[in-house]
Subunit: 403 residues, 2 copies
């Protein structure tokens, strides 16, 4: 059932729903020790599983390995295939840029060009982040576009993001990266001929021309290319869709950004550790009714192939679960956005462990929160976008469909 | 796969298929006694489960609590989101009105207006059913619309249904209930401007005007509002879709009505108890090849929070199962239209127990028909609309797809 139809069934209520996401939860056996969830001692998660309906979810589709953006959209109930997030938008979200409807974000790659204007290095010799930040500051101080605001933020190394803000802009403009060295950066060209796209292409051409002049004396980052140019369309918010008042407790900018897309109030307290995040949760508990708590390190360690690291984070967060339960949420969902098995050192397509607790969840007979135990779960394997409707239903927030 | 595609695969045959629906089957633990199905002694259902492939179904979607109308459409193989049934249609079906294509049914709410024409009570003081029936008779005897038939039937208390039948009618007309007191009933207004909608709105305005005159001396029900105005579009029938000759054995008008929508011959024998229903089943066994048997009380007791009542009905029907099996159906499906857990006293979103028996069903290892045992079922959790195709397949009524 579409998000729009679920939205029509949504009713107000005083229940509180918590979604705890271990990024990259779900693994593979590592040298006979089982998965990280199987190897970890997680008595509090196991106890919660006993009171929950359990199983797995596929964030996008069987066999499809999700990126973090679409995986979270799925957890938040947005069809991740219909609501794609462009690279430019993701980059801007990733540096905490508060995008507004009609903004045109793009990703900047600094590059090196020769005296003939042809690209000699598409990544400007992978300059260190300090140098990248300095170049961005220089650029931001000097650039001036007619009739629009233009904000530039450094991301990392040779990467940055630029956002144009103004009336009547378009986002259907091709990348200016020629993808090979020995060619000049391409002119920004509309992929569809509209006044908005023409206007924006002209502004970006002006942007590139000014950048070339401003950066002319740089040894490496003396030019730039633009990618993932996109007109920002906000998503319908949790407030509008579901009468929820949601908040997001996350450490990394990217996850804060995706939360903001869904209309969540993002907690900004310099929190770092999972214990810090749970402290924020306790502090803001009375102010919201939907809580997204994001644990990043399960994914980071998975990407590094660090099995022990994953086990450790799981145990660390497991010890915090009693603090969540003490708040007495009506609904608790625990899952990941995708699997990141440490033997693969990458995101993967494997179904993601999931449990949904409420007084009315119809608990199954599963007694542990791990890939093997969950095979007997009452949910089976559901689509990621079903998690939010199930949370709403368990929180008595959905009316009956039809008479 | 869509109903239309399943229809293309359907072939004739001499097999007989029986669908036994316990309304509201599927529950939650009640004070440690388990669900009603777990607490009930149902040896015959358990024995059937041993020979069946089992699991659960979601009638509409994960997390979505179904109304009875869409839930039954799903059991009958119709996409319940595509084929919505309007409130006016439901109300007319509920009083056994044999709707035809092009009819315009609407729900009537009697109300009280003051001398100034403003509504003082939107439900006419919730008049008792006897008074409602009397007012309907008075209205039906006097009302006369030009060029169309107009039939009015009492439903309950202050509620009734009206059906206009004639050429060139439309159903896109807004409710006339202003939703608050202190305002007059609204004029029937097309929500889309077409000659059909204009014509029907004019007829309904005339209807309301006459009703006002006819009811002027009533102490309470001296006016009416119209809701759920809808142009009736029949569903494609089981005969046309699947070469089935179906019959319906149900006690409550609403379920007879939904059966009629699917082209079923509705058995009208004043049957009341499940034993009565099984007696009819035996009597008509030779005349049909698809049998829908509907047990209402599991739902009614669930709505009342009467756990013992649910247990009792399950045991009562279990004792009748040998009579069904003695008829030697080729396929037996046993399920509910939705869950109605007695602890919730309402329909719910929980997956509904399901078993499908045939000689060729590939029975799983499940040995009992209840929510816990079925977790190990071979079907997992399927969509409600998959039940009919599986019944057809098990009855050798579906040809191969592709070469």
């Amino acid at each position: 059932m579409s998000m729009e139809m679920i939205s029509q069934l949504a009713v107000t209520g005083d229940t509180k729903l918590a979604l705890l996401v271990f990024d990259g939860l779900g693994g593979l056996d590592s040298e006979g020790r089982g998965t990280a969830l199987e190897a970890a001692r997680v008595p509090n998660l196991d106890a919660l599983a006993k009171e929950s309906v359990t199983g797995f979810h596929t964030p996008i589709a069987q066999g499809v390995t999700p990126g973090s953006g679409p995986a979270h959209l799925s957890l938040f109930g947005y069809d991740p295939i219909k609501h794609t997030i462009g690279r430019g938008v993701l980059e801007a979200l990733g540096v905490d840029f508060p995008l507004r409807k009609g903004d045109v974000p793009a990703r900047i790659n600094f590059c090196t060009i020769g005296p003939d204007g042809l690209i000699t290095d598409r990544r400007a010799g992978r300059i260190p982040s300090e140098e990248g930040a300095r170049v961005v500051a220089k650029l931001a101080a000097a650039i001036k576009l007619p009739g629009v605001e233009c904000e530039i933020r450094h991301v990392k190394e040779y990467r940055a993001a630029v956002v144009l803000r103004g009336e009547g802009l378009g986002g259907e403009i091709a990348d200016t990266d020629p993808q090979v060295t020995g060619k000049p950066p391409l002119e920004p060209a509309p992929t569809r001929d509209t006044p908005q796209n023409r206007k924006t292409a002209a502004l970006l051409a002006e942007f590139a021309q000014q950048a070339k002049a401003i950066l002319a004396d740089e040894p490496k980052a003396n030019m730039l290319t633009l990618r993932g140019i996109d007109l920002f369309e906000p998503l319908p918010s949790f407030q509008d869709l579901y009468h929820l008042n949601p908040t997001s407790i996350a450490v990394y900018p990217m996850y804060k950004g995706v939360s903001r897309l869904a209309g969540m109030t993002v907690q900004e307290h310099g929190q770092e550790t999972p214990a810090d995040e749970f402290a924020i949760l306790e502090k803001v508990w009375n102010n919201f009714d939907y809580f997204f708590i994001h644990i990043k390190k399960t994914d980071s360690y998975g990407e590094d192939g660090n099995f022990e690291g994953r086990v450790h984070v799981l145990e660390e967060v497991d010890a915090l679960i009693p603090r969540l339960r003490a708040l007495n949420p009506d609904v608790i969902a625990v899952t990941g956005d995708h699997s990141t098995p440490s033997p693969l050192k990458s995101h993967s397509w494997h179904p993601v462990p999931l449990m949904i607790y409420s007084k009315h969840c119809r608990a199954d007979r599963v007694e542990g929160f791990n890939e093997t135990a969950l095979l007997a779960g009452g949910l089976g394997t559901i689509h990621g976008t079903s998690i939010l409707p199930l949370m709403l239903a368990n929180g008595k927030r959905l009316a009956k469909f039809g008479a």
